[in-house]
Symmetry: C2
Amino acid sequence: MAKINRLSGFPELLPSGRVIEQHILDTAREIFELHGFLSLETRSVEPIDHMQRNGEIDKEIYVLRRLHATADEADPGLGLHFDLTVPFARYVLEHAALLEFPLRRYQIQKVWRGERPQEGRFREFTQADIDVVGKDTLAFHHEVEMAVVMSTLLATLPIPRARLQVNNRKLAEGFYLGVGAADTQGVLRVIDKLDKIGPDRVGALLETEAGLTPEAAAKCIALAAICTPDATFVDQVRALGVRNDLLDQGLSELSAVVTGANAERPGSVVADLRIARGLDYYTGTVYETQLVGFESVGSISSGGRYDNLASDEGQRYPGVGISLGVSRLVSILLAKDLVSASRAVPSAVLVAVTDELSRPASESVARRLRERGIPCEVAPSADKFGKQIRFADRRGIPYVWFPATAADSTEGDTIKDIRSGDQVDADATNWQPPLDDIKPRVFATPDSSAASKESW
Amino acid sequence: MAKINRLSGFPELLPSGRVIEQHILDTAREIFELHGFLSLETRSVEPIDHMQRNGEIDKEIYVLRRLHATADEADPGLGLHFDLTVPFARYVLEHAALLEFPLRRYQIQKVWRGERPQEGRFREFTQADIDVVGKDTLAFHHEVEMAVVMSTLLATLPIPRARLQVNNRKLAEGFYLGVGAADTQGVLRVIDKLDKIGPDRVGALLETEAGLTPEAAAKCIALAAICTPDATFVDQVRALGVRNDLLDQGLSELSAVVTGANAERPGSVVADLRIARGLDYYTGTVYETQLVGFESVGSISSGGRYDNLASDEGQRYPGVGISLGVSRLVSILLAKDLVSASRAVPSAVLVAVTDELSRPASESVARRLRERGIPCEVAPSADKFGKQIRFADRRGIPYVWFPATAADSTEGDTIKDIRSGDQVDADATNWQPPLDDIKPRVFATPDSSAASKESW
């Protein structure tokens, strides 16, 4: 276990876990920037009333108060943000005059929710979001793009296969209207419980709480059972015999996302008509993602199209976005030992020190290596060389450098690969380690990778 | 101005400012990793009583409370951390059994202080810290190393010259004991006000509040006036005629830091005996850093040696660290327009779209460029090419790619450098932009750089 968790819900990683998280964050940033998303951060706090208007999860907000706030000090009503979408929408509205639209941004930050911690669910966690927001309008093809970019990222990471499931709010809402539902949000909320309570109890709730006929309830449950790796879901929905214009639009959009994303990245996306998403603000495509074999932990990447989140008087900024739950993903990877790193420290080389008087000579070697981009550190004390080698070994540092002053019988510097034991002459102005050794490598743990492949 | 500030003390950057901040964070990380510091993060919250014990700034803490906390819910007494040193010391104690010492770590995170916002002083801001912590002991040479690493970072950044000032707590405390002070902390607190209230009022306070004789007070003020670019401060201190063993140790240590750091990086460090630092936990070397020409904003990089912060029954973890105030530095750079970026978006290429039907062809070009590490985006709409070129121009994207389907009379793809207007044939499988164009470049603003050079 690379994680210790003394304050429930506020996870902290050891160096061996952090190097894996860092690799995921670096890869996310690289993929996002390759796709032209610029980096933004928003402040960590938002007015509570703004979050309550847009979030529907007010009970989870952490409120801030200055420890020594005076009694007459007005309470500014600030809380820590619980996601990155609501703050980004506020940012867009606030700074719109100085932004270029459509705005493509990624945002990697911590968010906080005061809910009960459980597996994969934390009170403080890191998300990596991309969104595209337009002024007045936003072309539909961005709803395809979100799925393509996230599926590219997930396929680039050294993790088990991820299953990106897509649905469409218009499809569901149109269908519910088509079977005669008066409160489509209410139907959606009940359908969202399918995984938890099963179809029988959902059917009963659809009748008692959402006022559907038994026949209509059965059709809603049948709709949620439809899941296809291509656009064949359209025929299956049609076969249920429900007709509605909004449903048609939803079918057409979902069909375009599944077909378009799979054309770009074959097999990357499935249409899953059970996906509902908890938040009210989505209006079109919605995304969820399961890590195959670890579905119980919940979605590791979610998002959707929102037409009304960043809008004020007379000006609309429709958007679409998708978020990677970095902390949840990392917690699965570490708990199941799915990913490993060649080392936790950046140093590729430990420069040995013969005695404290010759430390400047060792520092000089280190300086010349760093000038050529080779991370290294100088031994903290002039212990016996065997002890300095063990110092490197315990940290996974692959090379130990012995400056000339340290040489036993040779005249120049030598470097030892402590994995093979090979020791050769070396010059700090031109010695170069293999590319693979310069930075810590992060890779699927050999055993678990084999195991996962079998189950794919 | 690239910054808008609607919630006082919680700054947010526009894309043009964020790209500069990101460059500073990337450079810090690069320099830290080249020197063998591993990345760690601590949770954002700490028990309030722990922060009060170690921080002396309890009034500035933001306390957390769940918005809908029930009346019978025990208050967990958590607050947002106000720096990265106190949380790191707690992390070391908590996880010591699983860490290798000496531990070299960097930590780049936001911190929060509920104090009144003013120039360069925020309620939420980002710090970039390095620390080395040993078990039982920590070699003195790490106190030299901190100055060298930070001075290397500051010299690598495209910013005005920074002046790293070093002092030593033992030197000051020993001197104060030597002139007969009973409360050395009290003397230190008064001396810390020199910049604000001047030597006359400090002299008076040293007599009334710290109980010094007029002669002793004068000597303390004379000590604070000593500032040398080398070890000659030793003779100046000796000339004041004060004798004390702790003073001798401080003189020897400070001398070693100034001499050692300037041997590694000539002219990087000055001994400035006025530097006091506000926090109680420093026990040896202390660091502060002024940006030359912008001293009024305060220190942009501070730290020191702490022997007792991360210690519990029977086990001590002495450390030394230095912190870069990223938000403060960025706020100066943006307010004074000292640093510029070639563009705010990552895209080096905008792939034009002839009509929506041929969008997949444009996506295919983009995919092939991305495979070779060239960031790009596809035009959001199939507008007239003139409009697509202006889209790129407004964002600083240097190249527009026209897929073959878009060609007027030629047969293959073409690419246009919209700065020069040059348009040439290109193949997405091998076209390569100049290295300088692949990522946004961040550099000292030409005008301001010339101006600063004159004043250096």
